[in-house]
């Protein structure tokens, strides 16, 4: 059988730096092919080459066995090759429906708004997504944006669908929805290429697996040949053990206490406390208000209620107030709120802590030193130090964002989706880093849609549902079923007991 | 001062931003072309400025790079140009000031000017003589400048005691479009207007178009100013809407340049003040003010 899409000895360089070295690769109709590899291994680059968004420096892209010579993404799309990009690819000012049909509007000379809206509605329903067709994309949470991206790709009726970390910003429920779509497409004979750093997903989905390391294929396998551990080892090139650090036991006094906290319009009546040296996990569905709560806590959103820091009531009106009180927040929205994509690593790293780098004149040397340390601590892989952050691989951007958030050495840090898009090796490093923070006597709130992460890291888990606390679990009570039950709201009676 | 030496005469004038200045620019270029032909020993440098600061720069450049022997300047504004022109004089150059006097007396060798006071007064006297007491008029003023103030003050002084009522005096900025708009609004606002003083012919043209559109052509007449050729033509043709006009000839720049040239090419010393009065153009004398080739 001729592959639907293939790469023959493809090399890709950005300027002097070669990031793909002689890749051979094929993708068949009716299969799900998973591409895995560390951050910066070249997965996104390879997918962009396949999808026509980048031209190979050497080698060929073959479509149905014949040289494809795509000059642009749209050209490839016209021939049935569709890409869901890792970076969001939506126009923020347009509505969901406008984005989905952009470039392929329905109607003759006049646009057929009704048809597009209905088709959008149908697509979103298929994805069990509650977003309205007329919602403006800039008003959507990142997870909904991702669902819109998926809807957009589905609307293209692709022969080849390339998905670059589509699940990174989704919760488990939405991932299930996505999987059903993937199964449907596979059955319909579509060739699917899938990347994810969640290896259990790869294990579940993939008919074949290709492992990339440093821009070269290091392993090819078929279903069942590799375990999750095997994949991790193939990616990282060494054995990975103990992804999650051991639990901590001795906690200090309460450092943060929240009472009757509300962030209008969604979040109300939140109360919890956080002890010194503790990791509090917050779980919940998309739209349950976790991000709003966090942003309210650090003064980024208008809020009401009381907040005590080491017993003293504080009023945080802005993020810099929060920083003065030793709080820090890592946003889930890397691209729109986290990083300046057109600036260098150094400028991004030090932005929120510039005061430490000299008054009145900034010390370039000190900044460079901090960057050097961050690169080492967080294993940031940047081909060049003075490159624009937007050109880093997604995972490395996330690591930089983490480094940036940790630079002020906060006492209490709220991390919203800490390992989004991060490879398994680095994930483990980050978990150990969080553990080290806690052992040093800091307190960490982890908001995560990744269930194993919540289970593996948290000393306590607070579950949110529709803007309220659905329940709090501690110690041995933290089990997947218990969390899921609270998340889905299947047991109202339990809530009362566990909340007490 | 007659020898084989060539002399450079700098001419600095405002740029052609409205009809009158356009005419003045045209006359300046015309005169320069003519004089360069006649007197090979004369070189001219012409610079136009849209703003006082730019004009100061132009004059500095002439002094620094063009080695001028004389400067003919029509100051964009009097005050800002006084210092720089004085610097030219202090450098030993011959200075001719045109139209707008400097704010310090005695700098220039030669002063050639129109008479803004008379420009307003002559028009005002015509209104006084030709309108009954109680007549209602409106005024279209120029750009807010000292010279506009002088004209309007003189006009108002001239009609004093005549019983003529000035309904309104807004700025038309010497601009046809602006004058058209303002006149339209005057016409909406005042049911009776007996005459219009548009202190410039460009504005008169705009105002006339508005009056025509409102169908009130027979109700009022208009006096403009500066002798634009189209207007002079209509006076010649005894247009009842445009009975007379007041001169303020853009050609005065020609006189200034010529007299400055004479200073270098003839032995007659040229010094002093030449005020070119504003006279009334009437159907009888209109012919002598009609220059069909001028753009103005």
């Amino acid at each position: 059988m001729t592959p639907a899409l293939a790469l023959k000895d493809v090399t890709k360089s950005f300027g002097p730096i070669e990031v793909l070295h002689g890749i051979d690769f094929d993708l068949h109709p009716g299969e799900v092919h998973a591409l895995i590899g560390e951050n910066g291994a070249g997965k996104s680059t390879m997918m962009k080459v396949l999808g026509g968004f980048l031209q190979p420096t050497a080698g060929e892209v073959l479509l149905d066995g014949a040289p494809a010579r795509f000059h642009s993404g749209p050209e490839a799309e016209a021939r049935g090759v569709v890409v869901i990009h890792q970076e969001f690819n939506l126009a923020q000012d347009l509505t969901v429906s406008q984005n989905i049909w952009l470039g392929r509007e329905m109607g003759g000379f006049f646009l057929d708004h009704k048809a597009m809206r209905q088709a959008t509605q149908a697509l979103l329903e298929q994805l069990e997504c509650r977003v309205g067709p007329d919602a403006r994309v800039s008003d959507l949470p990142v997870s909904d944006r991702q669902m819109v991206e998926i809807a957009k790709a589905l609307s293209r009726n692709a022969r080849v669908l390339i998905m670059d970390e589509p699940s990174a910003v989704l919760t488990s429920h939405e991932v299930q929805v996505l999987f059903r779509q993937i199964d449907r497409l596979r059955a319909a004979g579509v060739a699917l290429l899938y990347t994810s750093h969640r290896l259990e997903e790869v294990d579940h989905l993939a008919d074949r697996i290709t492992v990339l390391r440093d821009g070269a294929v290091v392993r090819r396998a078929v279903r069942g040949e590799l375990t999750e551990d095997g994949m991790a080892t193939a990616m990282v090139g060494r054995d990975l053990k103990d992804i999650y650090p051991p639990r901590r036991t001795d906690f200090g006094p309460v450092v943060l206490e929240v009472q009757d906290f509300a962030v209008p319009p969604l979040v109300e009546g939140i109360g919890f406390s956080l002890r010194r040296g503790e990791v509090l996990g917050i779980s919940g569905l998309v739209g349950s208000g976790r991000t709003e709560l966090a942003e309210g806590l650090v003064g980024l959103r208008p809020h009401t209620g009381t907040l005590r820091r080491n017993g003293a009531e504080v009023s945080l009106r802005s993020l810099s107030d929060a920083e003065d009180h030793g709080l820090a927040y890592l946003t889930e929205d890397r691209k729109e709120r986290g990083l300046l994509l057109d600036k260098t690593l150094r400028e991004n790293l030090t932005l929120s802590t510039l005061k430490r780098f000299g008054t009145p004149f900034l010390s370039r040397a000190a900044e460079e030193a901090a960057l050097g340390k961050a690169i080492a601590d967080f294993d940031i892989r940047a081909p060049k130090r003075d490159m624009a952050v937007g050109n880093l691989s997604g995972g490395n951007q996330q690591k930089l964002l983490l480094a940036k958030t940790m630079l002020p050495e906060p006492e209490v840090v709220i991390i919203d989706e800490p390992t989004r898009g991060i490879d398994i090796g680095t994930k483990s490093q980050i978990y150990h880093f969080i553990d080290r923070l806690a052992r040093e006597g800091r307190s960490v709130i982890v908001i995560s849609s990744d269930m194993p992460e919540i289970l593996g890291l948290s000393d306590r888990v607070m579950v949110m549902r529709q803007g309220r606390v659905a329940g709090v679990l501690e110690g041995a009570a933290i089990t997947e079923t218990a969390v899921v039950r609270l998340v889905m709201g299947t047991s109202e009676s339990e809530k009362a007991t566990e909340n007490a | 001062a007659q020898d084989d030496k060539t002399y450079v005469i700098g001419v600095s004038i405002p740029s052609a931003t409205h009809g009158f200045m356009g005419g003045l620019n045209w006359h300046a270029q015309e005169t320069i072309a003519r004089l360069e032909e006649v007197y090979p020993q004369l070189d001219f440098v012409l610079a136009t400025a849209g703003e006082a600061g730019k004009q100061v720069s132009d004059i500095e450049d002439m002094l620094a790079t063009r080695n001028i022997d004389a400067l003919v300047v029509l100051p964009f504004e009097s005050e800002p140009l006084t210092g720089p022109v004085k610097a030219v004089k202090d450098a030993g150059k011959f200075v001719t000031v045109v139209d707008r006097g400097l704010s310090v007396e005695g700098i220039e060798d030669l002063y050639v000017a129109g008479d803004n006071e008379a420009f307003g007064r002559v028009a005002g006297e015509y209104f006084k003589a030709n309108l009954p007491s109680g007549a209602k008029i409106v005024i279209l003023r120029g750009i807010a400048t000292t010279l506009d103030n002088e004209r309007v003050d003189a006009f108002e002084k001239a009609i004093e005691g005549s019983g003529i009522e000035v309904l309104d005096k807004q700025h038309g900025d010497w601009n046809r479009d602006k004058a058209f708009t303002v006149m339209q609004d005057y016409l909406s606002k005042y049911p009776q207007i007996d005459a219009v003083w548009a202190a410039d012919d460009d504005m008169a043209i705009g105002a006339m178009a508005a009056i025509e559109q409102a169908g009130r052509t027979d109700e009022m007449w208009i006096i403009g100013g500066a002798g634009m050729k189209e207007i002079v033509k209509r006076i010649m043709d005894k247009d009842p809407q445009l009975p007379v006009n007041v001169t303020y000839p853009p050609a005065l720049i020609s006189s200034a340049i010529e007299m400055t040239a004479l200073h270098f090419v003839s032995s007659t010393p040229v010094y002093g003040r030449f005020i070119i009065g504003s006279t009334l153009i009437t159907p009888e004398n209109a012919e002598q003010f009609y220059f069909p080739d001028s753009p103005f």
Partner: protein, 323 residues
Amino acid sequence: MRNLSLSTLGPLAALILLIVLGASLNDNFLSAGNITNVLARSAFIGMIAVGMTFVITSGGLDLSVGSMAAFVAGMVILAMNALQPSLGVGLPLALIGIGVALAVGLLAGLANGLLVTRVGIEPFIVTLGTMGIFRSLVTWLADGGTLSLDFAMREYIGPIYYGGILGISWPIIVFALVVVIGEIAMRHTRFGRYSEAIGSNDKVARYSAVKVERIQLLTYVFLGLLVGLATILYVPRLGSASGSTGLLWELEAIAAVIIGGTALKGGFGRVWGTVVGVLILSLIGNILNLANLVSPYLNGAIQGVIIVLAVVLQRKKTSAEGR
């Protein structure tokens, strides 16, 4: 409904306030004559502002429209004067004038658009340059003075400005048509949709098979055409063009667009808003002329205050969230 949000009602509210103010200051304010005057004089800037809405929405800018209008008017007058001896005063000559206006406008817009899209220069710089070029050319063509249409021809085409049907004058009718077409183009055609998409994120648009350069080019050409159209209505009014024709129209057009709620950074365009913006600006001038409020020297200040206030009315309460 989203379309009836505060930011739509804001400028409308400002407009209504101005109308109430005008009516209370002068009885003739609401007379048919005055309303016709205000609408007709809004028409020039209005048509240009509708075109500008598309340019700005797609992330561009055009500073040259005022001098482009002067240039187009100059070319029309030159062409008509040159052909009048052979063609005589009449419809053919008028049609040629119209043709010249549209053609020159189109070419001028094309020049701007090509410099922006093919050569890749900032629109601000391109149109600052062409602004100087067009204006200079008019001054030069007019020899520093005024280009005037031959009087007979002017009488003939005068009705284009002053005439009309059913008591509504042509500029108003044409303006209304342009607005309707503009609104439909913005809301209901690909051209408008793509303009918004490009202004919002040109990379996304490019990834979605939108021909970014072509659409951007089209916005400039469309604007050029509208400048030509506006000039067709302008020339009969006074029958002349000079270096001072259309002075600062660009600022007025851009201001109208922004007052109407279109974002200067692009991505979001509102043609109706632009119309309201144009009317607000025209009304301010009209009211200042009709009412002897203060020293005329302060007109500019009052105008400034009202512009700012009109926009304050349309702003929502801003918060970290709202941004």
